[in-house]
Amino acid sequence: MMSRRKFLLLTGAAAAGAFLTPQISAKTQFIESPEEVEAKRRWGMAVDVEKCTECMEELIAKTGNPEVKPPCVVACDKENNVPEFEEKRIDPQWMRIAKLELDKPGINPKEFYIPLLCNHCEHPPCVQVCLTQASFKRPDGIVEIDMHRCIGCRYCMIACPYGARSFNFRDPREGLKEVNPNVQMRTEGVVEKCTFCVHRIDEAIAKGEEPIPACVEACHKYGKGALVFGNVKDPNSEISKILRENIVVQLRANLGTDPHVFYTKLGGE
């Protein structure tokens, strides 16, 4: 038989534990408040289309494969556990290369190559339409998906103007040779897409380093250095300089989504 005193002590301790634990963890989890982050950082990517085209042309000439995956795409697939399936129809792809050509080839037959990825929009349509707020935008501008919340309705795929999202028709593990344990594994039945390598960004910020996504790293190591990633809110960052000094094109800017992947040197200026 428990004494009244013991009972009160125990319930009191349990209540305090239930009340205090989230308070303590909430304090320890966030180093900066969302407002501070929003004021300080906004991630974006700049693409030098000229360099990208050069790299792709060389690669295609060397391999003879018009659908060759350049270092950036290979690195992305490997880093983020993006599976590889035979059937293009259902193969998820976070980053892909597209061939670009003026609609009037008689006037300018030149072909360009550009990478396509999630644009991490300022006003993301996917976040707007998501039923469960599984798709959300972080204060630093990265659009992410909470895989535990996603119900797989695919409304976001319909709403995304950039085809950035893939649905897992199959379990991604079936299409992976090796798994990167640093990146969350997805299951069948949810939607996935590029995260700007959010795990790398968070790690770098915690260490006080400059973050670099896998594709950008590979592009500089093995490619032509066409991709530049950085904080557009920092006027001294490399990306800010590039955006200031070039004619910058955003995809489907007319929709007002304000995408944060910027294409430069489209006309070869």
Binding site: R154, I158, G163
Partner: protein, 396 residues
């Protein structure tokens, strides 16, 4: 009492055979779902066409529900006594169709065990999120409306009828907005879709109700006055013509925009694609022929012909849903206006195909069978059908 509602006996061999057949088809639909999710590649969906016919089932079933309910409530709201004979059957069907619609969502989503997240987490900017609330509340309203009818509560019935019509319009406009407010696809975006959805809902709901009434009264050997059906059939034909008008306006508007010429050419004039057929089959067999059947004096008074027109139209409204959902997905978006973009690693930039597989069709057919199973069991359990539906009796 002017109208006497009565349960059916439901002890004939034919009745039980019908129940067994419907139950078997329903079960096969759910089995198709299980197969679809256990074995990859059984459906025709892709990363370019993530919404197929199981998704099209959502607006289709909601349309049938809303249409059925609006017809039912005609009697209550406007106090048209002669249509009161149908009010219970229509309200009951409305509740059954909304169950099919909600199940269609459940079958369509990728993570069924995350389904409750749609109710737990609300996103105020998501139209689908609003609809999750609207659909469930709509089902409750349908049920209460039916209940007050069973209890013969006159005033409550009139109030609930008004509320139900309002809610049906809200629910179905919301469903239309899920698709038509998508601005990323030029072929989706149209302010005409929600009103078109309402018209389409009433026509398809009415068409199916006409056939339903005819077969129910015939099967139960009760009296049905052709004059009553004729009145409904004329409303049916008139609204079908309005639907045709909406489709024409929308098509011509899109065709007027030079940027959309290629897309419009693909949708309306390319017979090699399923999209072309979904549109023209709808126009010819879903609108033109049913309208002719109803308006032609030789066939327009015959209950069998009217039922046929009703079924034909209701079935082809499914093509309308296909025409709404699929073209915007199979036709590529222009990422950089003025430039042609072809992806090396995905199918972006190409016209893709979507052919629904038997596994997908079975899920839709299974849900339809389930609704009729609910109906067939319902007429035995509840007093849904009037003993006789004759104009004079009702207007006494």
């Amino acid at each position: 009492m002017a109208v006497e509602f009565k349960k059916i006996e439901g002890d004939s061999i034919q009745y039980f055979a019908l129940v067994i057949v419907l139950a078997a088809v329903t079960a096969s639909g759910f089995y198709a779902y299980v197969l679809d999710h256990e074995i990859a590649g059984l459906n025709g969906l892709s990363n370019r066409v993530p919404w197929g016919i199981v998704n099209a089932g959502i607006p289709y079933f909601i349309g049938l529900s809303a249409g059925s309910l609006i017809v039912s409530a005609l009697a209550g709201v406007f106090n048209i006594k002669k249509y009161k004979v149908f009010s219970r059957i229509a309200a009951y069907m409305a509740a059954a169709w909304i169950i099919a619609a909600i199940l269609s969502i459940a079958l369509d989503i990728g993570k069924l065990y995350h389904f409750m997240n749609a109710v737990r987490y609300f996103n105020p900017t998501s139209i689908f999120s609003w609809n999750a609330f609207l659909y469930s509340s709509y089902f409750v309203i349908c049920s209460v409306y039916l209940l007050v009818q069973f209890e013969e509560m006159e005033r409550a019935t009139r109030f609930m009828a008004g509320l139900a019509v309002f809610w049906a319009v809200l629910v179905h406009s919301g469903t239309g907005a899920i698709y038509s407010f998508v601005y990323s696809k030029e072929l989706y975006h149209s302010a005409l879709t929600p009103p078109m959805f309402i018209v389409c809902a009433i026509t398809s709901g009415l068409g199916l109700l006409l056939a339903n009434l005819y077969f129910t009264f015939r099967f139960t050997k009760r009296e049905l006055d052709p004059k009553l059906i004729r009145g409904l059939a004329l409303i049916f034909a008139g609204l079908m013509m309005i639907l045709g008008y909406f489709l024409a306006v929308e098509g011509f508007e899109k065709g007027y925009i030079p940027a959309l010429h290629e897309a419009v050419q693909f949708v309306f004039l390319t017979p090699t694609s399923g999209v072309f057929w979904s549109f023209w089959l709808l126009v010819i067999f879903g609108i033109a022929i049913p309208v002719i059947i109803v308006l032609n004096p030789k066939t327009g008074y015959d209950l069998r012909w009217i039922s046929f027109a009703g079924i034909l139209h209701a079935a082809l409204v499914f093509a309308e849903r296909f025409y709404l959902i699929v073209p915007g997905q199979v036709f590529p978006e222009e990422y950089l206006p003025g430039y042609k973009i072809e992806s090396l690693h995905t199918l972006e930039g190409y016209i893709v195909t979507y052919t629904p597989t038997i596994i997908e069709w079975l899920q839709i057919i299974g849900l339809i069978a389930m609704v009729y199973l609910i109906f067939v069991v319902g007429v035995k359990v509840f007093a849904l059908i009037p003993e006789r539906a004759v104009e004079e009796v009702v207007e006494e």
